[in-house]
């Protein structure tokens, strides 16, 4: 087993067992989409229109929650130093760590997104687009949240900093992920699937570049 897989498996296990697993972000997501109709009103036409957007925003906020403890714990318990001295290079390590945590804590978000779309009255193929849009958005969202988390590790009230750093960087992902659902609502499925692919492209680009940012942030926290 290579170092990358070891770290991914360890971080997934730690997030699953220690941090309550998927419960936190899932509960947050559910709360957001349940509160939506209460605030907006129950007209089914309005709800269908805002459905994909609400799913996108809720997923984004739920991922921010995930960022809060991602690197802060490593900073305080000394794991950061041990990782820095490991045989795996820091960018690879950062990627494996964030992905491991994301798999353990965020796996339920696309499912809840599909469930929520059903609640908001979207049709079958539209629900599938929302599901795929969220699924392809999550790697990018998690890596951005991880970057903000690494930058703010060891800072008191880091949650505020994480939101301020991560939200602007998450905007493109939100635009694409929610845009796919909106295009599907308009009946333009070519554009919808193209936008899902764009979301996936953003995730892949983020996976290639963001680990270097996270690694630099980790190094700066060691000094």
């Amino acid at each position: 087993m290579s170092g990358l897989w070891r770290i991914l498996a360890r971080e997934a296990g730690l997030a699953w067992a220690g941090g309550g697993g998927a419960a936190g972000p899932t509960a947050f997501f559910l709360a957001c989409i349940t509160l939506g109709p209460l605030a907006i009103g129950a007209e089914s036409e309005t709800l269908v229109t805002v459905g994909p957007g609400i799913m996108g925003i809720s997923a984004l906020l739920a991922v921010l929650q995930f960022g809060e403890r991602s690197f802060a714990d490593d900073f305080f318990d000394g794991t950061l130093e041990l990782y820095a001295l490991s045989t795996v290079s820091l960018p690879v390590l950062a990627f494996a760590k964030v992905m491991g945590q994301a798999i353990a804590t965020l796996w339920a978000l696309p499912l809840i997104g599909a469930l929520g779309s059903m609640m908001y009255g979207l049709g079958g193929s539209e629900i599938l687009v929302v599901f795929c849009g969220l699924l392809s958005a999550i790697p990018a969202l998690a890596l951005v949240a991880g970057f903000a988390s690494a930058l703010s590790a060891g800072v008191r009230r880091g949650g505020l900093l994480i939101s301020l750093i991560a939200i602007p960087m998450m905007i493109p992902v939100l635009v694409f992920a929610a845009g796919a659902g909106r295009a599907a609502l308009d009946g333009d499925f070519d554009r919808a699937w193209a936008t899902v692919l764009l979301t996936l492209a953003v995730s892949l680009g983020t996976s290639a570049l963001m680990p270097f940012g996270i690694a630099a942030a980790m190094r700066s926290r060691l000094g």
Binding site: M1, I7, R10, G13, L14, D77, G78, E81, S86, T87
Partner: protein, 246 residues
């Protein structure tokens, strides 16, 4: 015993010179091996490595903490970093580990260009996850260092915490957690052990176990550097006095 023969090869000559700093040497008996620590099996031999530091200056933020630190260590050597609070012991350790860039001077740690992979680190925190049992965390770290997992139990037994292997650190005492962190150094099988206050929360028996583990590591040609306030009697350990706090 082969271990002692190995150790005598690297008799503690005064290879450590410290300019602008006071230095004192403690020469003692050869470390006596016990059956427990001598019998940790299955670890591949350590590659002999040495460390030389010349003209090193330590920086904390904008101001220079210490200047002109020079010393050299050979396989089997141990070095205590002593000095008051704030004298730069931890900063020196972190600089040696590469976490902080040296303000001036040069560190040659081993022959490799990437010294990080030669260092086993025990900071002032233990590096344990509260809900991860010792079995899982030691498996992870020994695997990361490319070492077999079957050495874990003998090492834990040598530290007298074999019975804690399946207990999460959240339900251990501070001293037990410290011993768990020390086990990580041993199973990673790396030549340089950098330790920050290794004996902090340890009781008397724990300090003895630590001493034996360190003697075992040195007998295999390993190098140990420890920042400490406590009187640890490691045979033939050198001492680098960093002086008063700034």
């Amino acid at each position: 015993m082969t271990d002692c023969a190995l150790f005598s090869r690297t008799s503690p000559l005064l290879q450590c010179t410290v300019f602008a700093l006071t230095s004192a040497w403690k020469l003692g008996d050869m470390p006596s091996m016990t059956n427990e620590t001598a019998s940790i099996p299955d670890l591949s031999d350590l590659e002999a490595q040495s460390l030389s530091v010349s003209g090193l200056a330590l920086k904390r933020g904008d101001f220079i903490l210490r200047e002109d630190i020079s010393f050299a260590l050979n396989p089997g050597d141990a070095l205590f970093l002593t000095g008051r609070n704030g004298s730069g012991k931890t900063t020196l350790l972190r600089t040696l580990a590469g976490f902080l860039p040296p303000a001036e001077g040069h560190i040659q740690l081993g022959k490799s260009s990437d010294p990080a992979e030669l260092i086993a680190w025990l900071g002032h925190t233990d590096g344990l996850k509260p809900n991860e049992t010792l079995r899982k965390s030691l498996r992870f770290w020994s695997g990361m260092a490319g070492q077999p997992g079957k050495v874990i139990m003998p090492v834990l037994k040598a530290l007298d915490i074999g019975h804690l292997i399946d207990r999460p650190p959240a339900r251990m005492s501070r001293g037990q957690q410290r011993r768990g962190a020390m086990a990580r150094l041993a199973v990673m099988n790396r030549p340089f052990w950098l330790m920050d206050e290794p004996a902090g929360p340890l009781d008397r028996a724990g300090r003895d176990r630590l001493g034996k583990l360190v003697a075992w590591h040195r007998s295999r040609g390993g190098i140990v550097i420890a920042a400490t306030h406590q009187d640890l009697d490691w045979a033939g350990a050198q001492r680098l006095e960093l002086g008063g706090g700034l």
